[in-house]
Structures are given as structure tokens and as C-alpha cells.
Amino acid sequence: MARMKFLCDAERCIECNSCVTACKNEHEVPWGVNRRRVVTLNDGVPGEKSISVACMHCTDAPCAAVCPVDCFYTTDDGIVLHDKDLCIGCGYCFYACPFGAPQYPQQSAFGVRGKMDKCTFCAGGPLADNSNKEYEKYGRNRIAEGKLPLCAEMCSTKALLAGDGDMIADIYRQRVLKRGGRPQTWGWESAYGASG
């Protein structure tokens, strides 16, 4: 069975933030909530590298392990989602997440977008696919439409890949082989285990 994963190729990422605005646009994510962001290491000096980060949809998701109300579930495609009605916004998942993915909208008026909000791999939540209610609470459900996360689909350099884990691993391996460098699969191990 296909297992959905994200991979960001640091050799290609140029910190253009298209993944961030694509996400904002697709799900109308409010100001101050960042389901995805770009992190730059060694900013402004040789060795500068950027990586786009969001929920990695871990195989053994630490967020789910610590959640006191068990609001997390994993879809058949390996996407980690949560039920915002069960969630109490306690913040445990934020401490557990190695990627800082969970977001907590500060304004209560954001209502249904809180308590906790995070990347859904564009797969919505536990409501009827692409219903108005699902959109309002979780954003768009591209997976149900047979499409992949918009951040990756719109990535300016095809640095960010999202899809079947085997396929993206193959592409990445080919690129590394071509470049003759060492693979730098940032976050890959902690999200999907040593076997990748």
C-alpha cells in the first residue's frame, strides 16, 4: 500500500516560500498560523541551506502518542490527522513533535480552526470529503480529489516532494546520484524510521 510522505531536497530549496503561500491560499490559513514554513540554516554565509517544514505525518507519530484525548488518527494512506472536536488544545503534541508542526491559533474567534491546527497533507479531517464543513475546519481535501498537497505541487524548484514514499525516495536517490553528493534527507529518519 502507498505510504504518503514529504521530502524536501535542500539542494533545490531556495527559500522562496511558495509552499507557505500555496498552503495559505489553498486552506485560507489565517495570519499567524503556519502549517508550513521554511527554515534557513547558516543564513547569509556559505553553507546556507533552506528546508521547508510542516507536519511530516510520522509513521509512529509522537503527537498521537502523547495526546491525552487521542484525537489523532492515521488514514489508510499514512496521513496523520486529528479531530478538532476531540482536541482540547492542551499543547502536549507541540512538545512531542520534532518538527514544531502543531499550531495554536491565539484568537478564540478563529473558532473551528483551533484549538490545534496543523498540516493535513491536504487531506482535510474526519468530516465528509470536501464538504463546506470540512473546508471550514480543516481546509481543502485534495487527496480525496486525487491530487497531492499543493505546497509540493507548486514548489518553485520541485525541491519539496509529496506522495508515495517509494516514489519520492527514488527520485531523490536519482538526484543525489547525479550530483554525486551525500543524501541529506533532513527529517526523514525521525519521521519515518531508520529504514526511511
Binding site: M1, A2, M4, D70, C71, F72, Y73, T75, D76, D77, I79, L81, D83, D85, L86, A123, G124, G125, P126, L127, A128, D129, I143, A144, G146, K147, L148, A152, E153, C155, K158, L161, A162, G163, D164, M167, I168, I171
Partner: protein, 63 residues
């Protein structure tokens, strides 16, 4: 005393009844998701995988 207890219980029920629209109480079972089932968990992932694979080739591959 018995009456008091039952009245209390009755009141509590009433109180809780005012709180819940649905009488289906979710009981706690550690580590198990008890929310509504996502349509993406209804076992059509294999079928979907094919569609998503094609989509990946179309959109995310260098060509």
C-alpha cells in the same frame, strides 16, 4: 437518603442531558481514536494510490 441520592442522580442526569444533544457517550480507551471515521479510512487507499501515483508523475516530476 436513598431518595436524595436518586434525586441527585436524576438532577445530574438532567444537567448532563442539558449539555449533550446526543446520548451516545464516548467511553475512554487509552490510545484509541474514538472520533468519527474519516472517509479516507474506509479502505479505498489502494485505488487512491494509483490515482495519486499518476498525479505525482504528472505534476511533480521533472520533465
Amino acid at each position: 437518603m436513598k431518595t436524595l441520592v436518586s434525586t441527585m442522580a436524576g438532577l445530574t442526569l438532567l444537567f448532563l442531558g442539558g449539555c449533550y444533544e446526543s446520548p451516545n457517550v464516548t467511553t475512554y480507551e487509552p490510545g484509541v481514536y474514538k472520533g468519527p471515521k474519516d472517509p479516507l479510512m474506509m479502505g479505498k487507499a489502494d485505488q487512491r494510490a494509483e490515482t495519486l501515483k499518476k498525479r505525482f508523475e504528472l505534476v511533480q516530476m521533472d520533465r
